[in-house]
């Protein structure tokens, strides 16, 4: 990987990458694209307290209870249990979100443009994937780095976030 190291923006981005690799925050990973350090791909895992787990667990419990009472047909019960289990296995997929970060030569004096790749159903996220977050606009500071950006997106936006499609 050959990067142009001359500009302060690129130097700073290399540092950010190194820092991310050495000391990654929980549930966050990111890396620049192979030939372009100004464009990064990142993945955020939802925080552990997504409600989906609770919802599905309670469904599972209900089904078990119902089974004990013996009302439900055995065949039907197995089918439902099976689907719930497979659903539980795939809950992981519900909690992972892909983003891109586009940097400019003004970095770190200007914030990067961050957007979600997958379509999200969330009040602070637009249809095209742009994020409405203060530190990415007027509250930006040159001290924030990639890890800080991703962490703040994770804590403020990912609660109750759902990925559609």
């Amino acid at each position: 990987m050959a990067f142009k190291m001359s500009t302060p923006a690129r130097k700073r981005l290399m540092r950010d990458f190194k820092r991310l690799q050495q000391d990654p925050p929980a549930g966050i990973s990111g890396a620049p694209q192979d030939n372009n350090i100004m464009l990064w791909n990142a993945v955020i895992f939802g925080p552990d307290d997504t409600p989906w787990m609770e919802v599905l667990m309670s469904c599972f419990l209900v089904m078990t209870l119902v089974n004990c009472i013996g009302i439900v047909n055995l065949h039907y019960e197995v089918k439902v249990k099976g689907s719930i289990t497979s659903f539980l296995n795939s809950t992981r997929r519900l909690g992972t979100f892909k983003l891109t970060l586009q940097f400019t030569e003004d970095y770190p004096n200007k914030p990067p443009t961050v957007r979600f790749v997958s379509r999200m159903f969330h009040p602070n996220i637009y249809v095209d994937g742009s994020i409405c977050l203060d530190i990415l606009q007027n509250q930006w500071s040159p001290i924030y780095d990639v890890a800080a950006i991703l962490t703040s997106i994770q804590t403020t936006d990912m609660h109750n976030a759902v990925s559609i499609a």
Binding site: D106, N109, S141, P142, Y144
Partner: protein, 665 residues
Amino acid sequence: MESEDEMAATMMEDSEDEEFYGGGGGDGDDDSDPDDVVMDYDGFMDHDSDDSDDLSSSHSRSYHHRSQNYTILSEDDIRQHQEESITKISAVLSISRVAAAILLRHYNWSVSKVNDEWFADEDKVRKTVGLLENHTPVPDAKELTCGICFETYPLDRMSAADCGHPFCVICWQGYISTAVNDGPGCLMLRCPDPSCGAAVGQDMVNRLASKDDKEKYNRYFLRSFIEDNRKTKWCPAPGCDYAVDFIVGSGNYDVTCRCAHSFCWNCVEEAHRPVDCGTVSKWIMKNSAESENMNWILANSKPCPKCKRPIEKNQGCMHITCTPPCKFEFCWLCLGAWSEHGERTGGFYACNRYEAAKQEGVFDEAEKRREMAKNSLERYTHYYERWATNQSVDLFIWVSFVMAMLGLFWHIGPNMAELEKLSDKQCQPESQLKFIVEAWLQAVYPITCLSKLAGDMSMLDLLLQSKRPKAMVTKMNLSFLFLQIVECRRVLKWTYAYGFYLPEHEHAKKQFFEYLQGEAESGLERLHQCAEKEFQVYLNAEGPSKEFNEFRTKLAGLTSVTKNYFENLVRALENGLSDVDSHACGKAGSSKNLGGGSGKGRGGKGKGTTSRSSSSRNIDDSGHWSCEYCTYANVRSATVCEMCQQRRRTSQLVLVEVLTNEGIT
């Protein structure tokens, strides 16, 4: 007259801005200007020399006109005032000048506000603004890591604000540069550390930023003094660098900048006395939007048969009721009154009368609709045309004025080549002409300055002493007259806008207004023609002749008459035509009642008389005239009021002549 008193009292009092119209004072009573022109030459010239000092910048700053409520500030003045405010705050609060500057900017450059807030709760102010009590020094180590680029540098390459957060000089430069290029927000710059709100002041910027950024920052700093301050505004004329400091409260917002541009301080539009700012903005918006709407209205709507306002029908039956105050009910199809419609004419969704008429070809629908639609626009167009005419006449006057001035220049003898260079520089004709005028005036004013220094000597004597022709005096007289005409044109122009917004149903006010306007306009036309003619005559003849002097007297008379008319008009409009009783229009439709002349006498008179027809009309068709002092209804033949023994006013008599000639009464 006001100007005479001022002259008598103190010759040394002066105004800072260019009131070369000869207008007295800050109340901006522009209509008093012709009066100055008309006075005997001594008085006129002296007054002129009072005001003319303001063009010589060395004198301008120290004089302040007593009745002036605004001052013109040049860039140096602004800088000076700014420095004074900073020094004041810095001394009173015992803080550094940089901190004082930050504080002032935050509180809109109001010294009193800063003092109040500071002494009320100093800590809160410090926190909001970002001024720390103590300066925390940068951590003492051989090398430090910059918080932005994460490189390590020796101590001398690092810098910090009062909070002590260290950043390398390169990063500081980038940070400040980005902020400066983002706009005036750079004046409120804070430490890059998001958790810290320490303010970054002008001293740090001067130390760390590049030359261009420093200059931009200083430019924003200077501009902020005018833009953030609620009492000052920039002059809107293109290419003008002056600002106007205004003391609100006198009611009249017309100010004149040193660049000869007059504008309303409140809405920053052109000077529009006597109309108020709301009306002006409505009118201007209407002008820009109307042409596009016209076609649409013609095509898609029908005007109410009674009040002519356009109506668009989007659903429902044919029974239309116009909105209040009209409330006329009519049939949409044939536009006839609804009282004649009903089951027999076809019910609610058809109209037999319309069908019949259409077959007869009486209704050429589109054309008739268009015609009626035009009536509603006609009213607007009527006012707009007159407004626009006066607008263009204004420019035309400038042109003819300057042509005349150029002729005069040859007599005075300034540098013509310079003038031409000046006029080439400016692309717009109007500003070009104004520029020339200003140059001419600047050429002339040094002479008047000399006269002032000479003390009691009148302008006339000085000119004679310097062997200038006596005619020079006349020239200046005329020039001010021309400027006065321009001023009157402008007032007239805005009265048309006023007239458009006058409610239709207030007939008395409308007629009163139209009467006043008519008198003023005719007076102005006569004056204008007279003045132009004189100029022509003057340019051809060399020395003053006998008939020329007579002419000049006539001109003086005309000027004072016009001045009166305009004063009445302006005063009436500013009172909102309140001295007209709007109820008393009982016979408005039938007689040509004119409301003019006796505005004040009409006040609460509606109750005092028995018969409605003679209640508040000067002349009505029952053969009586109401005295304007006691409102008694006298017989037509009387010339002296029976009750109060006051003579009937001449204007009323004139009106009587008019009406009898036209066979109304």
